[in-house]
Amino acid sequence: MKKTFIKTVLNIVLYTAIGVMIYFLYSPLNPHPNNKTSSSITFVYQQF
């Protein structure tokens, strides 16, 4: 039980870190030139 709990907490930390990293890289607020036309929220909106 304790092992499952630790695994759950570690997975939350890991998945959150991955999610934040992806958001940081692909957010439309990221001013890096490579981000201008990459997949981003702006790009998704532009499909409508």
């Binding site: 499952t4 695994k7 759950t8 907490v9 997975n11 939350i12 890991l14 998945y15 959150t16 991955i18 999610g19 934040v20 958001y23 940081f24 957010s27 439309p28 607020l29 990221n30 001013p31 929220i41 702006t42 790009f43 909106y45 532009q46 409508f48």
Partner: protein, 394 residues
Amino acid sequence: MKHFLIAYFLPCICAVFIVYLIATNPSVNTKMFPEQKQENFDTYNYIPNFNSNAWNEEQFLNDNKNTIWILGSSELSSPSEALPFRFLTKHFPVKVKGIGHAGNQCFSIYCQLLANEDRLQDARIVIMVAPSWFESKSAEGTSSAVFLEYSSMHWQKKILEKEGEFADYAKKRIASLYSELNSPGLELKLLNFEHQASKSLFHKAIYAPVIATDRALFTQKENLLPPRTPMFYPDMSLVVTPDSINWNRLISQSKSKVLSMSTNNSMGINDEYYNEHIRGNTGSVSSVQEKYNQELEDFAMLVSLLRTKKADVSYIIAPLNPYYYTDLEELSPTVEKIKDILDPDDEGRPSYLSFFVSDTSAYSKAILTDVMHFSDHGWYNIDQFIALKYNLDK
């Protein structure tokens, strides 16, 4: 199965929720993506384009009491020290700022001003009008690429929120550029759809669901993107050399200097430019009839906008070299039409300064450095006009 749900599925749901909270929190976003501030404030004396730069956009038409705005196209890219935003800023207690590079024609300027129309009253603005805008392909109006360089998503949104004759015209013109836009944003789509919907009741019915959907998405986008962080704008110090300008001497000296740099041709063209581009050749203009001249219509709307919003505006009509362009009389009716559009100001002084002549006998060879760009002599004449118009000498 239970172990999988607790150890993998539950963390996944939790992570999505936490990332959502982070991504929608403006203060976290501000820290993650700090707005890049311009370090050297003096560089704002001239900017080639806005290019979505929040700092430059916020500064535009700000502090009108101490600032004169020069809007134009390629002539402003010159490195000459005689350009008003360099010369006048150095010698008078006024900030002169130049905006524009090649292609920044009437509709581009119109959109920049329309998006900021609440700042136009009494704003001191000088529009550099180039006759070459109104001939050949340029007469089709501002290109879509140039329009996007100067009108960011934020300014398109401002135009979208406006109503009336001027906003309708902007929507109509954006709709005409729409097919050239690669992957247009929601703002541009709505501007286009609203113009299409205004054509008839039938169009309105057809476009209603599309507009409603895009409006809903637009609201979501607004909620998602944090507002632009308010920035501190330090006032640019006015560094003034306390000397009075002897305009007559300055203008005559610059004339002699410009003429001394034109020795290998009789056209008054700078030697280097002549060797590189002209070499004895002549050019011609391709005039466009008024009813097909989109640029002329854009110009009339630009003048009307500035007049309606009571801007303190003046216009400089640039010349073309009549020794190089041998058929300039073809462009004369267009230039006369431009002058008709520009009425005298309230005090009876002409609100424009025209250098355009089609006849070589009336042309001063030192005004231009090549076939269409001002020399130092030309710029000093313009500096004097601006200084007189806005009482900088007092």
